[in-house]
Symmetry: C2
Subunit: 396 residues, 2 copies
């Protein structure tokens, strides 16, 4: 039979990058296309230890229904850590545990967006967020970035000329895909503009603790005094993604609405891993673990930056991220990043073309995203050499 799919779901095209991802089944392909930490960065031994304890003592509890808001001790630990370590969150805020950071984006969008409402995003931005916005019928407006993050002059231009903007979506620290970090000055301007035009900010901050150099920059939420910033966080990048434990910190009124949406979305996040993370936080030093991950990832970032410099034509520019998981390459103006990635694929290296991260799905981008956390040091070297060869032919 013929199905009448909902308008905005039907409008979501099978992504062009799927073609490129198909090559990943070939074990010889070096994937620079992922968005995970190095799997050797998961604290497997410690997690298995607390996991065993739960099996022994509280397994029946984890098997029953939990509350939609999340496991209370984990909510309290999350709130306390954000508050004490990052001055983020006030007495008016609350935390909901979500099924990964992605669910925070999805639940908040469902809570706020009427079909046709506008969400303003960095251009380029995280494809998972853009598609979540699209899946609820939102209109997207992109604001270009420079090395200091989203351009505030262009943001004001959009805000002053666009009706029905509900919120601004930013990944201020080690942005996906660009690796860029928004400066403190820009963050303050962002908050001022959000106030001036009375819109909310969704601050998506999954990478910020993966800092390999430079000084931390205050979260946008830490400067928020009126409940204008909704903060999406995750344990995926500092512990592991497969367990699907994220969170949202926001004004209680927003959290209460998101709880209603979560209840009808998946009732609650799996209890076992909520308890496991909670016990891990009790028993082990997460900050010490993060320090270890950062050392591991820094070596890989440095290796990739060095290899790119060594092998790739200097007309191609690369960001120098102070943390996170991604380096962003840009071809000279007029060249198509998608076509380059297709060519790179033929040399058995997978990376993600920039057009995947555009608010306009039909747009063309001269950019491409490289992940440095997953491949081995050896494969980083090989992959960059192949990219260099491809670029040489491509720019000829």
């Amino acid at each position: 039979m013929e199905y009448k799919i909902a308008d905005h779901i039907a409008a979501m095209k099978p992504s062009a990058i799927r073609e490129i991802f198909k090559v990943l089944v070939d074990p010889e392909v070096i994937a620079l296309s992922a968005g995970s930490p190095d799997s050797s960065a998961y604290p497997v031994k410690e997690m298995a230890e607390v996991g065993d304890e739960i099996f022994a003592n509280e397994f029946v509890t984890t098997l029953g229904y939990g509350t939609t808001e999340g496991y209370t001790p984990l909510r309290e630990q999350t709130k306390k850590r954000l508050r004490e370590k990052y001055q983020t969150g006030t007495d008016d805020d609350d935390v909901i545990i979500t099924t990964g950071g992605q669910q925070t984006i999805s639940l908040f969008t469902q809570t706020m967006i009427n079909k046709g409402d506008v969400i303003v995003c960095e251009e380029p931005s995280f494809i998972g967020a853009l598609n979540a916005f699209r899946s609820f019928g939102a209109q997207l407006k992109g604001v270009p970035m420079d090395d200091d993050g989203m351009r505030m002059d262009l943001l004001e231009e959009v805000l002053s000329t666009t009706k029905n903007v509900k919120f601004i979506y930013v990944i201020p620290t080690f942005q996906n895909p660009s690796g860029r970090t928004m400066t403190l000055e820009r963050r303050k301007q962002l908050l001022e503009l959000a106030k001036k035009y009375d819109v909310l900010i969704l601050e998506d901050n999954p990478y910020f603790e993966l800092r390999y150099e430079g000084e931390p920059v205050a979260t946008v939420k830490s400067m928020d005094t009126e409940g204008r910033v909704v903060y999406a966080g995750s344990y995926s990048k500092v512990l592991s993604p497969g367990m699907r434990i994220g969170f949202c910190l926001a004004n209680k009124e927003i959290i209460n609405r998101m709880v209603v949406c979560k209840q009808v979305s998946d009732v609650h996040t799996n209890m076992y891993f909520q308890m496991l993370v909670s016990k891990y936080l009790d028993k082990y030093d997460l900050d010490a673990h993060i320090k270890e991950i950062c050392e591991l990832h820094k070596i890989k970032r440095d290796a990739m930056l060095k290899a790119l410099e060594k092998y790739v034509d200097p007309r191609v520019t690369f960001t120098h991220p102070n943390g996170g998981l991604f380096i962003w390459g840009e071809l000279p103006k007029g060249y198509d990043g998608f076509k380059l990635c297709q060519e790179i694929t033929k040399k058995k290296v997978a990376c993600v073309p920039g057009n995947a991260f555009l608010t306009d799905e039909n747009g063309v981008s001269n950019g491409f995203r490289l992940n440095f956390s997953m491949p081995s040091l050896e494969n980083i070297e090989i992959a960059c050499q192949r990219i260099g060869e491809t670029v040489a032919e491509f720019l000829k």
Copy 2:
């Protein structure tokens, strides 16, 4: 600041039953309000055993990102079991693993519903589904039931007079909240009417294997030859709900669309419990386990039916469910089930008033739902006695 919540989320009122649920924090209250199996029915030892094995051998795998469709072996096992044991599913169908049965309802609704589209439901029906439908802006139309399930004459009346019906939502077996089972004859009529008016059917079937007497009735999906039925299933009621493992069996085109929605909803369901369920199915006999649960639950159902007959004024009628978790009571016409439940609460028994299950949130119902799987046999006796006392005063 003042938040501009999305229209259909803002329209979802804090449920009236929350007031009644507040009493549940009092440990002296006997809860007949839940929707879980008896926790002694979880195969804790066996699950812990396979869980330990995963810790020992494959824990790192479970911690990385998984595919959105779900863990391939579990998808295959689920498909095979439905096909071989229940003749449910064809070569044109596929399975997606969801974060509990609730997520199937939510993803399918998001996939199909434009704001204002109509979903036809049994009246009364499962509140979690009704609220999921509301959260995507659907209009609800209720069709009354009798002991044989949804009334097909009234369904046709609705279908022939209502525009933009996208699908019919039914819980054909041991329905929540009524405990009723739709007869085979009605199921065939349902499918015929769906064809005639070209609408889909969402068959929500989480309880059907918890049968304590009588012969199994074929699933609606098993009679579907053209991909008109979308089947929502779950491991929550036969293994345990806290792990959040459900599934959807439907035509591949629908599954592909739901995968897109799931990707932006929570990326994938937690890997660990997908593997745990898969290994449980490999290593143990789920059917034998279900048989054990059924024996346990039958004793409780019988105890509650007997105690209700003993203590409660016969002007109040109760369904005699052949399985599942719920008995549905009805006061004589003109009496309000919500008011009765308020009175019952004062005697430290919690049950769910019928109005919670209506498509019209402001409607009045003479019904109320009792769960028999969770309370102990002793508490079933005490609770029914208290209900009997309350009814006696209430009908005076």
